[in-house]
Amino acid sequence: MIKFDRRLIKSFDWLTFGIIVTLTIIGIMTIASATRPAIDGADRPDFYLKQIVWLCVSLCAFFIIIAFDYVWLQRFAYIFYGIGLVLLLVVLVAGKTSLGAQRWISIGPLTFQPSEFFRLAFVAGFSAYLTSGVAGGLGRLTWPGVFFFAVLPMALIVKQPDLGTAILLLSLFVVLCLAKGLSRKLIAGVLVLGIIALPFFGHIFWEGLKEYQKNRLVAFLDPDVDPSGIGYQINQSKITIGSGGFAGKGYMQGTQGPLRFLPEKHTDFIFAVFAEEWGFLGSFVLMALYLMLFLRGLDTALKAKDDYGRLVATGITAMFFVYFTVNISMTLGMMPVVGVPLPFVSYGGTALLSNFIAAGILICIRTRRFELFYPHIW
C-alpha cells in the first residue's frame, strides 16, 4: 500500500513542523488566558479545550497528508477546485450568518467555513492550471483562466462578503502569476487598470459592503470618530498591545481580554492579548517564529522538485504571509479590521485544520524534493 521511505523521516522538515506546533501551543495558551473568566471561581469557557481537540484532529490530517506524495494534489486539483466553488455557492444560498457575514455552513452538529478550504483548493487548482499547458505557456493567461480563477471566485467571495479572503485571493493570484513568470507587463497592466478602475468599481464595492464593514473602514481612517462605537475595536486593540509594555503583564495577568474590553479577543485579536501578556519581548519572539516559517517556505519553493510543487509552496507561504500581515496590521491599527485570523494561533477549528493541511502539503513538498519519480499513490 503506502511505500514508507525511511528518508521521509530523515528529510522530514522538523523546523516547519516545530514552528507550527509551537505557534499552535502558544495559541492554545493565549486562548485559555483570553477567555478566562473575569470573576473568581466562575466557569472557564472551554475554547482552549476545543482548540486542543482540533489540534489532535489537525495533526492526524497532517500526518495523513505527509504520508502521500503531493502529486495526488495536482491530479485532483481541478476536482478540489470545483468542489470549492460549489461550496462557496452553497454558503451563499444556505449559509449561516455570523457577525454579519455568511461564511458558515452546518452539516449536522458541525459548522464549517468553506472559504478556509477554498483557499487551499485555489492554490492547488490555480497552480495546476498554471503548470498545465492550458495556460497558454509562458507569458499568456487565457480569458477562461482569468474567469475561472479570478472573476468567478472573487464574485462569490465578495458577495458573502468576505473582505479577508478577497484580499488573500487577489494576492495569491498575483503572487502565483509572478512565481510562474507570467508576463509582468500583463500583470502590471491589469493592476494599473484595476487601480484606474477603482474609483468606479470602488463605488459599487462600497455600496456592496455591509454596514459593519463600512464602519470598520471609517474607523480605520479615524479611530477617534466614535471611540466607543465603530473605532472601539481598533482603539481597544491598541490599548491592549500598548499596555503590555516591554516585558508584558505576565501570563494570565492581562486584563483587556478577560474583562471583555477587547472584542474577538481569542479569534482575530489574539495577537493583542498575547502582546499584552508577553510584552515587546514576546511579540518579538512570535514575529521571529513567523519569519522563520515564511523563509523556510520560500526555501521549500526554491528547492521543490517540480514546477507544481514550487507554485504550491509559494502559494501556501504567500497565504500564511498575507494572513499574518493582514491580521497583525489590523490589530496594530494599521489596516481596517477585515476579520482575518492569525494562522495557527487564532481560535477556530476549520482554520487550524486547513492550516495544518497546508503546512502538511508544504512539508510534503520539501520532504519529497529528492524523489524523482512519482510513486503510485493508491
Binding site: I39, I239, T240, F246, R260, F280, F284, L295, A301, S329
Partner: protein, 595 residues
C-alpha cells in the same frame, strides 16, 4: 521560480516585518505608559458614594431640612443590543418618542449612563425592579435628595441646593466633587456649604466592558457633613408666614444680648423644593423677573429711609450731647416754616407742647426738627454710624447693602451742593438721604435694648462676641426705653402690645410721594416700619419689621412685630402649662411626611 523572485520576496518580507516590528515597538515601548493608563481607566470605575449632607437645625433643635433618598433610573446603552422601546416607555411611564430622543442624543459620551427618569416613587421602583431582567443595561441609582419641609418659610435663610453651575466645574471648591453633585446655591446651604457637604466616599470597582462590577478594589467611606445649628427660632417665622399677605418686606429679630438672629424672613419667598428638584429656565425667569423680586433678600438687600424709627437715634444723640433738656417742650402746630418752605408734622393739626418723652411716644416731627437743628447733621451722623448705619453688618449670607447716613461732607461729594438746614430737618426724622436695611435697624434696636453694646449679627447658635460699644449714659438708656415702652403702651405703636410681655418699640412710616400729590395705588403707598424689643425690663428679643408699600408703620408693621414676639415668648409661657400641645412646626412636618 528563479532566485531573483525569491530574493525580492525576502526583501518584501523583511520590509513588512520591519514595519510591523517598528509599530509594535512604538506601541509597547514608546507609548506604553499612555496605553497602560488607558487600560487602567478601562478596568476601574470610580464610584462616588455621596456623603449625607449636614442637617440645618433651628435653635430648639427642630430640623429645617431633610435628606431623602432620591431614586433615578439610568441605562448604559453600550450594554444593550436589543431594546423594546415601547415596553420600556410603558414601564417608566414616559412617551416612547421622548425615550427615543433621550437614547439617541448625539452629544452623549461613550459609556456614560443616560438618566431616563428621576425622582421615582417607591411604587414605580418596585415595578421596575421586578422587570429589570427584561431590560439588561438598566440600573437604579440612589442619590440623597434634599427636602425643605417648611416650604417657603425661611427659604431666604435656609437657601437651596443645585447642580454646579456651568463654567464652575474647575472652581477649586468643586473640583473634587462629581460633576452632577448638588451644592448649596443660596442662604445657609450656600454659606455653610463646605461644612454641610461632607466628603464623598469612593469605591474603586473593577468592571468589565459591559460595566458589570466584578470586585471592589478599594473603598473609602463617606464622611457625613456637619450639622448646622442656627440661632433662629423657626416658630417665629412660621407664625408670621402669612402676616405680610401679598406685601413685600422683611422681619429680622435678634437676641440683643448676643447678636444671635432669632428670625430672618424676607417676603415674598420662594419654594426651595422647586430648586432641589431642578428648576426650569422659565420658572427661574419668572422668579428673577417678577416685579416683587422674590429672590431679593430684603433683610440685607433692601435699603429704605428708616422714617420715624430713626428718631430713636436722634433722641439718643440729643441726650448724649446734652443739646436738649428732656423736659424742654416744643410746641407742634403741625409744621415748621423755614426758608420759605413748610416742614410738616405727620399730624396735620399739630401735637401741641411736646417734651422728649411725648415726642417719641407720639412721633412728633416738629419736635425732632428742633432737636435736629440743635444737634446738626454731623453729630447725628456720629451716633447713627456708631450704631452701624451706613455700613454692612457683615453677616455674610448674601451681598449686603450698606445703607447711607449723610453728612455735610457726603453731600458735598455726592450731590455737589452744601448742606442746608432743611436737610438736617428731614434727616432727623429718618427721611431724605438716610437709608437703612432692616438688619441695621434691628441692630440699633438691639443696642438700645442692651445698653449700647454692638454685636456682629450671627445666624449660628452660640457663636457671638460683642464688637463695639456705644458709650451711653444710663439715664439716656432709661429715658429712651421708657419712651419706647409708652409708644406701645399708649402711643403710635399700640398695635404691638402683647399680652405676654411688655413691649417697647417705635413706628416708622416713610412717605413715597408727597401727601398732596394725590397719587394712589400700591406703588405710591408708604413704607411701614416697626422696631421693637421685649420684655422692656430685661430685653430678650429686638426686632425690625419692614413692609414695602405697606402703609402706616403703626397700623401694618406693629401687628407683625406683636405676632413675632408672641410666637417667641408663647412656647416659654406654655412650657409651664402641659395642656398646650406640640409646636406648630412639628405638626407641619408630620403632615409633610404622612401622605
Amino acid at each position: 521560480m528563479n532566485l531573483r523572485v525569491v530574493q525580492v520576496s525576502m526583501l518584501l518580507m523583511g520590509l513588512v516585518f520591519s514595519i510591523l516590528l517598528f509599530r509594535i515597538f512604538q506601541l509597547q515601548v514608546f507609548d506604553s505608559d499612555r496605553y497602560k493608563r488607558l487600560a487602567e481607566e478601562n478596568r476601574f470605575r470610580i464610584v462616588k458614594i455621596p456623603a449625607p449632607r449636614g442637617i440645618i437645625y433651628d435653635r430648639n433643635g427642630i430640623p429645617l431640612v431633610e435628606n431623602v433618598p432620591n431614586f433615578s433610573i439610568s441605562i448604559m446603552p453600550e450594554n444593550v443590543s436589543v431594546l423594546d422601546l415601547d415596553a420600556l416607555a410603558a414601564l417608566l411611564g414616559i412617551q416612547t418618542q421622548k425615550l427615543q430622543e433621550k437614547l439617541l442624543r448625539k452629544d452623549k459620551s461613550p459609556f456614560v449612563p443616560i438618566k431616563l427618569k428621576q425622582g421615582l416613587e417607591f411604587r414605580e421602583l418596585a415595578g421596575i425592579e421586578a422587570r429589570r431582567s427584561d431590560f439588561p443595561g438598566l440600573f437604579i441609582e440612589t442619590e440623597i435628595g434634599r427636602e425643605y419641609p417648611l416650604g417657603k418659610v425661611a427659604a431666604h435663610l435656609i437657601g437651596y441646593l443645585g447642580r454646579i453651575p456651568q463654567g464652575q466645574e474647575n472652581n477649586p471648591d468643586f473640583r473634587k466633587l462629581p460633576p452632577d453633585a448638588m451644592i448649596g446655591q443660596w442662604g445657609i446651604e450656600k454659606f455653610h456649604d463646605a461644612d454641610l457637604r461632607g466628603t464623598a466616599g469612593e469605591r474603586v470597582i473593577e468592571v468589565n466592558a459591559i460595566g458589570r462590577e466584578l470586585r471592589i478594589i478599594r473603598q473609602r467611606a463617606p464622611i457625613a457633613g456637619k450639622d448646622v445649628h442656627l440661632s433662629v427660632d423657626i416658630g417665629i417665622q412660621m407664625a408670621i408666614e402669612h402676616s405680610f399677605g401679598e406685601k413685600a418686606g422683611a422681619l429680622i429679630a435678634m437676641n440683643p444680648e448676643s447678636g444671635e438672629i432669632l428670625a430672618f424672613e424676607s417676603f415674598p419667598s420662594f419654594d426651595p423644593n422647586a430648586f432641589a428638584q431642578g428648576i426650569s429656565g422659565a420658572e427661574w425667569k419668572l422668579l428673577t423677573e417678577s416685579k416683587k423680586k422674590p429672590m431679593l433678600n430684603r433683610v440685607l438687600q433692601s435699603q429704605y429711609p428708616p422714617g420715624s424709627t430713626f428718631k430713636i437715634v436722634t433722641a439718643i444723640a440729643a441726650l448724649e450731647e446734652g443739646v436738649v433738656d428732656p423736659a424742654m417742650r416744643v410746641t407742634c402746630t403741625g409744621g415748621l416754616s423755614h426758608g420759605g418752605r413748610t416742614f410738616g408734622c405727620w399730624k396735620k393739626g399739630g401735637h401741641g407742647a411736646m417734651d422728649m418723652h411725648s415726642a417719641l411716644v407720639h412721633s412728633c416731627d416738629v419736635y425732632f426738627y428742633e432737636i435736629g437743628k440743635r444737634l446738626g447733621i454731623d453729630k447725628m451722623h456720629k451716633y447713627a454710624t456708631a450704631f452701624g448705619i451706613g455700613k454692612e453688618t457683615g453677616l455674610g449670607l448674601i451681598k449686603e447693602r450698606p445703607g447711607l447716613m449723610p453728612n455735610t461732607e457726603w453731600k458735598k461729594e455726592a450731590r455737589k451742593s452744601p448742606w442746608y438746614l432743611g436737610d438736617t430737618f428731614i434727616s432727623a426724622i429718618g427721611q431724605g438721604a438716610v437709608t437703612t436695611t432692616p438688619i441695621q435697624m434691628a441692630q440699633v434696636m438691639a443696642s438700645v435694648a442692651n445698653g449700647g453694646k454692638i454685636y456682629k449679627p450671627t445666624l449660628i447658635k452660640g457663636d457671638f462676641s460683642p464688637v463695639a460699644t456705644v458709650e451711653l449714659k444710663p439715664d439716656t438708656i432709661r429715658r429712651i426705653r421708657a419712651a419706647l415702652h409708652d409708644v406701645v403702651a399708649v402711643g403710635t405703636g399700640n398695635n404691638a402690645m402683647s399680652s405676654l410681655v411688655p413691649v417697647g418699640g417705635k413706628t416708622g412710616t416713610v412717605q413715597v410721594v408727597g401727601k398732596s400729590s394725590g397719587l394712589t395705588g400700591e406703588k405710591y403707598m408708604d413704607h411701614a416700619w416697626f422696631v421693637a424689643f421685649a420684655p422692656t425690663d430685661r430685653p430678650e428679643i429686638a426686632l425690625a419689621v419692614f413692609v414695602e408699600h405697606g402703609g402706616g408703620g403703626g397700623a401694618v408693621a406693629a401687628p407683625i412685630a406683636k405676632t413675632a414676639i408672641n410666637a417667641y415668648f408663647g412656647p416659654r409661657k406654655r412650657s409651664a402649662d402641659p395642656e398646650i400641645p406640640l409646636k406648630p412646626v412639628q405638626k407641619k412636618r408630620q403632615e409633610a411626611t404622612g401622605d
